[in-house]
């Protein structure tokens, strides 16, 4: 009788406990609580963007032999710089010391370091970002910028980091280095262009001392649709009233913080007045900026895109497309992508809807390039003020084909920094646009 009386409250107790356990497990793990609409997983991107170490990798490679002769190395079939990065990915740094700063003679010695290779960046970059190129082994390194790396081909287990601006030299000692792997990486199928790294007006400059030949490239271009960027960059644009059409452009505005403008010539401008990241630290700025361009994911998953310059004066970072270590110019005024910090609060992106897509045979022969000296003389003869000539870069001119609007030719050309912008040398001496 007594036991029979306990059955009902016992069952009730069990039911209460079970309901408490079930409902608490649903409460504790919110994953159980979501509804079926939220469970769709998107995995349509098989190809990932190139990692940061790729976009911020050095672009040029100069080898100095035992006699001090220097050659710029190129390779048509593989990317020499990433091959070298692969050989250095197990490097583990032991110590970083500043050897000198402001000492021009010492700096000159390192530019001509015998039996070594030098990796060059187009502009200075923070040591912490360069560290990503060698397996983050310098992530605790000094908070400074560099633009050249000297890798001696000896068994000292050392490399040197150089900064042209102020002639800083750092010595990095590693536990072990892989000189034989590096030598192998530059052994096969390598083209050489004779150069000399020297100081011109106290500025380290690559002097191309002999004329040489460069190939032309042809590409099919891919014009990304405006919709692609609108859905990516303005997810909150719901009202078609926020689209304004002008004679030369179409403007999309989400009425709160973002505006996207497409110009008829294929250029685009994106203005973000409330960006997630803004930092005054150079390393952080470069990292944020990489995140921003990968958000745009332009240019073939960033595989041709490289960091080209940073100007602290107007807070502008420029990325350009590269072929075989040489930048492509005049795709538009600002490179492939330009990110500019406006009023310390907003970011303005300029980019082009036209991107290089598929390489195609040009059928054109190689083009003979003049030496640096001949270029300077040519400019002087055409009446340009030699003292105003800035850096001279070897690059590729993006020129549209007459036959097809989706075909472009990339022609090797000298580019001269003059009057605050990059100019095509051939156009300068032929006075096109002057």
């Amino acid at each position: 009788m007594k036991i029979k009386n306990l059955i009902l409250p016992g069952l009730l107790g069990i039911a209460v406990v079970v309901s408490v356990v079930l409902s608490s497990s649903i409460w504790i793990n919110p994953a159980h609580y979501r509804n079926s609409q939220q469970t769709s997983v998107s995995n349509n991107s098989i190809i990932d963007n190139k990692p940061m170490s790729y976009v911020y990798s050095p672009t040029q490679l100069i080898q100095t032999d035992e006699n001090g002769k220097q050659n710029m190395l190129t390779n048509h079939s593989s990317n020499l710089i990433s091959e070298i990065g692969n050989q250095m990915k197990n490097y583990d740094s032991k110590s970083v010391n500043k050897l000198s700063s402001g000492n021009i003679d010492e700096y000159k010695k390192f530019l001509g370091y015998k039996n070594s290779i030098i990796l060059n960046y187009p502009a200075k970059i923070s040591i912490k970002i360069f560290s990503k190129f060698i397996n983050d082994s310098l992530s605790k390194g000094p908070n400074d910028s560099i633009n050249r790396i000297v890798i001696p081909f000896d068994d000292s287990n050392e490399i040197y980091l150089l900064r042209d601006d102020g002639f800083h030299i750092y010595k990095v000692k590693f536990k072990d280095t892989n000189v034989s792997g590096l030598k192998d990486a530059i052994k096969n199928n390598v083209g050489t262009i004779p150069v000399k790294l020297k100081l011109v007006n106290k500025m380290p400059t690559i002097d191309f001392i002999k004329s040489f030949e460069m190939p032309q490239y042809g590409y099919l271009i891919n014009k990304t649709s405006q919709n692609y960027y609108v859905t990516r960059l303005l997810p909150n644009l719901h009202n078609t009233n926020n689209i304004k059409r002008h004679r030369n452009s179409v403007v999309y505005n989400d009425q709160s913080s973002k505006q996207l403008t497409f110009y008829n010539n294929g250029e685009a401008e994106y203005f973000d007045s409330r960006p997630n990241f803004i930092s005054s630290d150079f390393t952080q700025t470069l990292i944020d900026s990489y995140k921003n361009i990968s958000k745009l994911s332009i240019s073939d998953n960033l595989s041709n895109l490289r960091y080209f310059s940073y100007s602290p004066k107007n807070s502008t970072i420029i990325y350009r497309n590269y072929v075989e270590g040489f930048p492509i110019f005049n795709q538009n005024q600002y490179g492939a992508v330009q990110i500019k910090l406006v009023d310390n609060t907003s970011l303005r992106y300029n980019f082009s809807l036209n991107n290089l897509q598929i390489p195609v045979p040009t059928g054109g022969s190689n083009i003979k390039m003049e030496t640096t000296k001949e270029v300077v003389n040519g400019l002087a003869k055409s009446g340009y003020d030699v003292s105003k000539i800035g850096p001279i870069e070897l690059g590729y001119q993006w020129s549209s084909s007459k036959d097809s609007n989706i075909l472009v030719t990339l022609q090797p050309t000298w580019f001269v920094y003059y009057n605050g912008r990059w100019n095509n040398y051939n156009q300068m001496i032929n006075k096109v646009g002057y």
């Binding site: 309901s19 997983v41 098989i46 990317n79 045979p361």
Partner: protein, 278 residues
């Protein structure tokens, strides 16, 4: 007595609540596992096996690299064919057709052993050393050799192929040959997707019917587009499968750079057309 009734009512209500909660819990856990299913590619392979798709070739996740190549379709083969002996030759649309005046007898079960020697003989086949035997494409009556390019093979319709015809009475009667000249690297090598992601991609495009068997998957160079006589070749995952109710194998191509499908009216095809038109 009243208290007992109240207890009964409470018990009934709590049992109902328990049943409801348990159903909710169970439903959500199964939903969760479903959403995980969509994520990883090895789960998708399992899903394929549930669809009775037989995946036999071993699927590696290994990443490899490939080039953009260019090749020319010219008539050099016609010129070189004049030096060939013991055969009657016709040449049309860049394809050389030859029939042997004195056919070869092939009685071995591995005809490629003999053909490997034959193909290197310059009096019999032009540029023969540029080709290699492909077991997957060959049948009893047709032995296929593919042209080599940068450590891989070209698979581009009839281009870059030699097909040997073997009659039922084991005689090698003749062959057809197409040659891609001037194979050049257009751009430095870059990464391609893995074999596994190529197959998963094709499955997700709904291109593989249920009850199919995957015969082979190879990374070949195939034609992306042509500009005049020049072809642009890219590394492509070529996937062959046959479905249960037909003996014919279907071949599909996946662009190994982007993972997109290459057959059908893709954007790349229209791009090539507009180049050709201009």
């Amino acid at each position: 007595m009243d208290f007992k009734k109240i207890q009964m009512i409470f018990l009934a209500i709590f049992v109902m609540i328990d049943v409801f909660l348990f159903m909710m819990f169970h439903q959500n856990t199964s939903l969760q596992s479903e959403s995980v299913n969509q994520g990883s590619s090895s789960e998708i392979i399992k899903q394929m096996q549930n669809d009775q798709i037989n995946v036999k070739p071993n699927l590696s996740d290994k990443k490899s690299t490939g080039y953009y190549l260019s090749a020319t379709l010219n008539n050099n083969l016609k010129r070189e064919s004049k030096n060939l002996k013991n055969q009657k030759i016709s040449y049309d649309n860049h394809i050389l057709r030859s029939s042997f005046k004195r056919p070869f007898g092939i009685y071995s079960s591995n005809p490629e052993d003999l053909l490997d020697k034959l193909i290197k003989n310059k009096d019999i086949i032009a540029n023969g050393s540029d080709y290699e035997y492909s077991a997957d494409l060959s049948t009893n009556n047709t032995i296929v050799y593919l042209q080599k390019a940068e450590d891989r093979y070209i698979y581009s319709g009839t281009r870059g192929q030699i097909k040997f015809d073997i009659s039922d009475d084991h005689t090698l009667t003749g062959y057809t040959q197409s040659y891609l000249d001037n194979v050049k690297i257009l751009r430095e090598k870059s990464d391609v997707i893995s074999k596994k992601s190529a197959l998963v991609g094709l499955y997700q495009y709904n291109e593989i019917p249920n009850n199919s068997k995957i015969n082979w998957i190879h990374l070949y160079y195939t034609r992306l587009l042509s500009i005049k006589d020049n072809q642009v070749l890219i590394p492509t995952w070529v996937i062959s499968f046959s479905s249960d109710n037909s003996s014919n194998a279907t071949v599909k191509r996946i662009n190994a750079y982007t993972g997109s499908i290459l057959d059908g009216s893709g954007t790349t095809k229209s791009a090539s057309e507009s180049v050709n038109n201009n």
